[in-house]
Subunit: 342 residues, 2 copies
């Protein structure tokens, strides 16, 4: 039966034939794909590996969503570099008993995501392994003076975050514990689960950034995506730029509905450390930050300011002294300094 | 103790710090690497996934050799496209108990291979998995009129193979069965094992190809590498080009010392189906083929001719009728038509 066919039944060549329909005809069938970049632009390249049981699970993620997320995670890295998508390569490791429908679902999800934001499947490799994994390399292009890096933050700049943070973590919680969240509205539930299963790389925010700048120059801007959480992004930007930061707890981009569901303390933890929101975090001069904020509206928050002093601190809403954030620290480690839940 | 340290002991950030020394300073620490291609050249991209127990094994391959081979396999794809190396990305999946020395050895082997032929480590990703695997994407650049494809062979062209074929398979045999091969000379033994552990992408043959052409144009040339064996390469070139081929058994690039060791029939099998020789197979007009042959000397053979009729055939040395080669067929399937061993 077609539906129960495994990739072992089909063989590598048979599987490749099935997957070719997801690739443009002129890039397949050679030892490599030949691609023209837009004139005068630089190549941008980024790689992510997703492993079954670590980065995705059949319990929470359909194969189409695995494909979408794998591509979206890589495209988010391109967005954070200020680059436009050119294409991806896909290195697939699969057990022989993997259903053909799973692999086709994966590719359908990848293709759908690429149709949204641009880029094509440029090639890949298939091999047998005990565990499913997907290694994606995304290629993009950017004008040299619009490339965004982490190391260009300066003291006294605004720290801007797009979107809400913690939604993907909230969506995961609902997927892992469907019996919970009875008090969550259907709209919020769908929104959080979509944030987890179908994250959207913020190319729109980069476009808004350039629209709002008088001269197209990225020299005074630092950027990265928040794939590992808002705190991690701010820590990386500060470390790379040799600056510090103070974040205002009252300005953290928490979804009020998440805080209402799990309490403010947990919502702050998910905002700072939940990860996988694939939003953008930028350090830029205050006027440009305000322009971007005005352009993106409530989908963008100024969450703090860079400092000349080292260290990343969170200023609680009450008068308590600030808490130092670190790479290895979850919110639970400094929960004592946070306000009570509710 | 340093030598027994595992990557779980070190943690992901600690491991990344150790690996940064293998990357140029200006491409690390961001969500992606920004790379300038040579002006007017196209990007060429290719991906390979290598899995422990399938593509390499601690039994036959030291970590430095795994690194070398993984990079060489990808660079060989670039060479087959006529491209020069720009860089690679590395997606590593590793069990927590992997020794740090294994990972550093892997990167040393990759870096050594890149130093030989050009290109740098442009980035990568690390993740935990039950089985070691290495997903490499190689990026190269090529002038549009020098890009080599598989589909451009025409009937009546010469089929050229660089190097001997079957050496990697012979080297693997010696590694798997060290008790065998007592009659093989030390020089041959080292040469075959090197062919298996340290394959050399044939950028030199591409340079010789262009040196020998009056006009730099790849329109009448088809090429691919022989990573899956000489027969596989000829079959792919013919299928992509819509031509057939007849190979002459007497002209197959067999190492006489391999034939002396395992017999001519086995040597033909390894030549056609052994794989992993990472040589080049080209279809090109006879005058250019002879020029290339003259330039590369005994390191290059004209093994047959393309035909208008479909199908790839091997003409035995004796007067027996030709044998049809196919993707799924090993030499043992047509051993009856081959001459007796000796």
């Amino acid at each position: 039966m077609e539906n129960s066919q495994t990739i072992a039944d089909l063989g590598e060549l048979g599987l490749l034939q099935r997957l070719f329909r997801f690739c443009p005809g002129d890039v397949i069938g050679d030892d490599g794909a030949v691609v023209a970049l837009p004139p005068d632009q630089r190549l941008v390249v980024t790689t992510d590996v997703l492993v079954d049981g670590v980065h995705f699970s059949d319990r929470t993620t359909a194969p189409t969503d695995v494909g979408w997320r794998a591509v979206a995670a890589n495209l988010s890295d391109l967005a954070a570099m200020g680059a436009a998508p050119v294409g991806i390569t896909v290195g697939l490791s699969l057990p022989g008993h993997t259903p053909l429908t799973w692999v086709e679902g994966l590719y359908e999800g990848m293709a759908t995501c690429l149709r949204y934001w641009g880029g094509v499947v440029l090639g890949g490799d298939l091999c047998r392994a005990d565990t499913k994994s997907v290694a994606i390399t995304a290629l993009g292009s950017v004008y040299p003076d619009r490339a965004l890096y982490r190391h260009r933050a300066q003291p006294g700049q605004a720290i801007v975050a797009t979107g809400h943070h913690g939604l993907s973590r909230a969506g995961l919680e609902l997927l892992l514990h469907p019996e919970q969240g009875a008090e969550v509205s259907a709209v919020d539930r769908d929104r959080w689960i979509a944030a987890h299963q179908r994250p959207r790389p913020r190319f729109d925010a980069i476009a808004a950034l350039w629209d709002g700048l008088e001269t197209a120059n990225s020299a005074a801007i630092a950027a990265m995506d928040s794939s590992d959480g808002l705190a991690n992004a701010v820590l990386h930007l500060c470390q790379a730029s040799g600056v510090g930061a103070i974040l205002q707890e009252t300005d953290l981009p928490i979804d009020p509905a998440v805080a209402a569901w799990v309490g403010r303390s947990q919502a702050i933890d998910w905002c700072l450390y939940g990860g996988e929101d694939f939003e953008l975090v930028l350090c830029l001069p205050w006027p440009q930050a305000r322009t971007l904020r005005a352009s993106l509206g409530s989908d963008c928050a100024i969450v703090g300011e860079t400092t000349a002093a080292a260290g990343v601190e969170l200023q609680p809403a009450n008068a308590a002294p600030p808490t130092v954030l670190s790479f290895s620290q979850g919110f639970q480690h400094f929960a004592a300094a946070s306000p009570p839940e509710g």
